[in-house]
């Protein structure tokens, strides 16, 4: 009888451990899926912002010099995004330092060319400018949102992966550790 008791206890303990491990593995799996999704979304929003910036540069709303600067920064962003897509590195390594730098530059160019006074004069001059600028503002806001949400997801994954149980049992498998994406994305477009 004693032996059977022990076996029951052992089975119960094993079941509990197995449940705990699978619970954490499932949780981590869900978090990895979230990171993957938020990264894809961020990638798409970055492309979108560059597209809208380029559209604005070509809309003949700004002076030629400003347009040129904007077109340059936007094209660089699109080229860098395209390169990342071709190498399908986006999912592997996230938005890397080079892309982050390019996006910061685009942000700086947008800020420099679309000052409040420029915006005010452009809107006063051309009725259709407003829509264009609102589109840019929304594209910028979405980059901010998706970057923030992605970093949140990264934060959650990293926290769970730092737990001893995740490290000891390698619950993350071969999935690479996601990185925070840091670049300047604040573009105030006050229409």
């Amino acid at each position: 009888m004693h032996r059977w008791d022990w076996i029951v206890v052992a089975v119960a303990v094993i079941a509990l451990v197995a449940w705990y491990l699978s619970y954490n593995a499932a949780r981590l799996d869900r978090l990895h899926a979230r990171v993957e999704g938020s990264l894809a979304s961020l990638d798409a929003q970055i492309v979108r912002r560059a597209e809208v910036s380029l559209e604005l540069a070509n809309a003949q709303l700004l002076d030629p010099a400003s347009s040129m600067l904007l077109a340059e920064a936007a094209t660089t962003s699109l080229d860098t995004s395209d390169a990342a897509a071709v190498q399908s590195e986006v999912q592997e390594h996230g938005v890397d330092a080079r892309r982050a730098r390019v996006e910061t530059e685009l942000t700086h160019t947008l800020r420099a060319t679309l000052t409040p006074s420029v915006i005010a004069s452009v809107v006063a001059e051309r009725g259709d400018a407003r829509d264009e600028l609102v589109r840019l503002r929304e594209a910028g806001e979405r980059v901010q949102l998706s970057r923030r949400f992605h970093n949140d997801a990264v934060h959650d994954v990293r926290r769970v992966r730092a737990k001893p149980v995740a490290r000891l049992f390698r619950l993350a498998g071969h999935t690479s550790l996601p990185h925070l994406v840091e670049f300047e994305d604040e573009v105030p477009v006050d229409v």
């Binding site: 869900r30 929304e138 979405r142």
Partner: protein, 391 residues
């Protein structure tokens, strides 16, 4: 879009969170979205057609006062059914760390999930103790929103990670179009000062304002203080100076319409709150109605008033400073005119049209992040989009 909104508090109790959920729901419906709101409600409470009652809220002690919350296994099952039947593209819960419907919805939700944090005064001990309970639910949130910089700071310290700041919305035009009422309007000898809020609640700051009254009356004997809000005047007035009592006019609880008309009639709106405010929607309502605002310098209020550029500030809790600032404003019609103007422009930034667009951006971002990721992003598709963008 099919949107499920979850309010942790009943609609029949006044409160900022509920109002926000109601206004957001109505705005989104007018934009053509399908919206269902899950909120605590009795079975026999009349509800707007878009609200689904989840049962009767129970008064329980929580966070220093008695809150009416809804919880338990029966409720959890109801929340699960609501989510299942709703087939929502996105579920948006409000105040996810309050132990009520939102938490249950977070638990049940498997799809895109957005959460708005309203409060900045959470009790960190409770949060820390309950952390493991909350964590699994919080990890499902694809997009966090905080209504103010303060609320965002709370999220960052207590939960880690970050949140996008999207303020509460106001229907600016409703307030801007409110017609002033003659009996509430001031004249140069008898200017009117407006106070709004639950009068017995000390945090709303009426005692500070009453303390400033003798000083105000000494300088402007004709001044009238219009006090609107539920509560018993005798209790707050108590042993007050008869001259002060004579200058106070208690209007009781006022309707939404009268609130707007009162704000547009007064010469100055005063918000002497001493704490417990994480946003300050009332200041935006006052600016929308064209009232010059004088508010205590709580961080949330300073932020809404753009650090004093769109409204005057005084040192919170300091009756003397309140009196000085108020008199300075009363004696300076040009400054009041200026504040009316910049106040209106400032309020527009919080109009629902602007705020709801930002919230919809969050929905779309979170939904996009939930779509299955293709194995490789085809470069051809991108380039074609790019050409379109460049043409």
């Amino acid at each position: 879009m099919r949107i499920g909104l979850v309010s942790p508090y009943s609609f029949d109790v006044p409160g900022g969170v509920q109002l926000h959920v109601r206004d957001l729901a109505e705005y989104l419906i007018r934009q053509g979205h399908y919206v269902s709101v899950l909120a605590p409600a009795d079975d026999d409470t009349p509800l707007p057609p878009y609200v689904v009652g989840a049962g009767k809220a129970v008064p329980v002690p929580y966070n220093g006062s008695v809150a009416r919350l809804l919880f338990g296994p029966v409720t959890a099952a109801r929340v699960g059914r609501w989510i299942e039947h709703g087939r929502f593209d996105v579920v948006h819960v409000h105040e996810p760390v309050s132990p009520s419907l939102s938490m249950l919805a977070m638990w049940a939700c498997e799809g895109p999930l957005v959460a708005t944090f309203h409060t900045s005064n959470v009790r960190s001990r409770v949060l820390h103790a309950a952390r493991p309970l909350l964590q699994a639910g919080l990890e499902k949130i694809g997009g966090r929103i905080a209504v103010s910089a303060e609320a965002r700071a709370t999220v960052r310290t207590h939960l880690g990670g970050d949140a996008a700041v999207i303020p509460n919305g106001v229907y600016v035009d409703t307030f801007a179009q409110a017609a002033p009422r003659l009996r509430w309007q001031g004249i140069p000898q008898r200017p009117t000062v407006v106070f709004l809020g639950r009068i017995e609640e000390p945090r709303k700051g009426l005692p500070v304002l009453l303390e400033a009254m003798p000083r105000l009356l000494a300088a402007r004997p004709g001044l009238r203080l219009l006090i609107a809000g539920p509560g018993d005047p005798r209790e707050v007035l108590g042993p007050v100076d008869p001259a002060v009592a004579a200058a106070c006019e208690f209007l009781g609880a006022v309707s939404e319409e009268d609130k707007a008309r009162l704000l547009s009639s007064g010469d100055i709106y005063v918000a002497p709150n001493t704490g417990g405010e994480s946003f300050g929607i009332i200041l935006i309502e006052a600016m929308s109605s064209g009232a010059p605002v004088l508010a205590s310098d709580l961080p949330a209020f300073s932020a809404v008033l753009d650090e004093g550029r769109t409204g005057a500030l005084f040192r919170g809790g300091d009756a003397e400073d309140l009196a000085n600032q108020l008199l300075a404003l009363l004696n300076d019609p040009a400054r009041r005119r200026h504040l009316r103007q910049v106040g209106d422009a400032r309020a527009r930034e919080f109009d629902w049209s602007r705020v709801a667009a930002q919230i919809v951006s969050v929905y779309e971002t979170v939904i996009a992040a939930n779509l299955p990721v293709p194995a490789t992003v085809p470069a051809a598709r991108r380039s074609s989009r790019r050409r379109r963008g460049g043409s």
